[in-house]
């Protein structure tokens, strides 16, 4: 085998790898589309509840909540007590906006958020993967502080 032949073969192999990586990433972008229900996260107490939708046009909506959020005694959303408001805002996080998948990064642009510091920001969730009906990623900068947090979701059918 000549040197040139080896170089050509290597180039073809490298190209093949790039193509298959590209198509794997393109597949990942397709795989995230849909509705997912929360399986696990570090925050939000025991049996946390959550839902995330990624639509096929690049919009998403995500909600995470403790399972023991209080009902307001007033039955009026704008007349909670200090303790009710505290439990609600500490026990939940929701945001929405647009998203894209780049490699194994989930890039989000946040248009609205219960945590106001996030409104208008661009953020990354890393190590995105979809295997069967399970979607996982890591949130490197949780809104409640602390270390990077893994989240696991299951596809809703």
């Amino acid at each position: 085998m000549t040197r040139r032949r080896i170089v050509n073969l290597s180039a073809i192999a490298a190209l093949g790898l790039i193509f298959s990586l590209n198509s794997a990433f393109a597949q990942l972008a397709k795989d995230v589309v849909g509705t997912w229900t929360l399986v696990s996260t570090d925050a939000y107490g025991p049996n946390p509840k959550g839902s995330v939708n990624f639509d096929s046009n690049g919009r998403f909506t995500l909600i995470l909540m403790r399972s023991d959020l209080p009902k307001y005694a007033s039955n009026n959303r704008t007349q909670g007590t200090t303790a009710e408001y505290k439990a609600t805002v500490e026990g939940s996080l929701a945001y929405f906006g647009t998203y894209s998948v780049g490699g194994t990064d989930l890039n989000v642009h946040i248009e609205g958020s219960t945590f106001p510091n996030w409104i208008g920001t661009d953020q990354k969730r890393i190590n995105l993967s979809v295997a069967g009906d399970e979607l996982k990623y890591t949130q490197p900068t949780p809104s409640g502080g602390g270390p990077a947090a893994p989240l696991v979701w299951k596809r809703v059918k």
Binding site: T61, E90, G145
Partner: protein, 168 residues
Amino acid sequence: MRNVLSLSAITALALALPLSSAMAQTKSLKEQLVGTWTLVSAESVEPNGTKMPLVGGTDVKGILIFTDTGKVSYQVIGGHAKIASNDRMKMTPDEMKSSAESVLSYFGSYTVNEAEKSYTVQIESSSFQNQTATPGKRMVALTGDDLKITNPGRLAGGQTINIWKRAK
């Protein structure tokens, strides 16, 4: 002969066009609801008729997604002052109040009543947890890409009216 063919083709086309628009109109309400909607406006109407914004804050934004599998996710959020600590678990009482009052986010399941042009939502979890107690009815007025949803049974009395536009 060629003229006859052309005429037939034109006739077929003329027939096909109104058919396709008729088919669009006969889509079920559910088929028309499924998809992503972005907020135009959201207000509450008190029992005495007084109107006010549904949530506090400025530059209110929202998203509503209905899936064909019967799931719904709803968020309406107003811009509110940043949390000084930059930590969701370290808010002052004033920050908690403005955060809580600027937000309504929930998710759950919905079923459409085609005849009544309404749907019933069973909320699984909500930033206003009182909503999870019983299913809630919503009345729908839908014209093309414009969607008006009225909640005639606002828990605090009166109703709420949300206007949405189909996201493209």
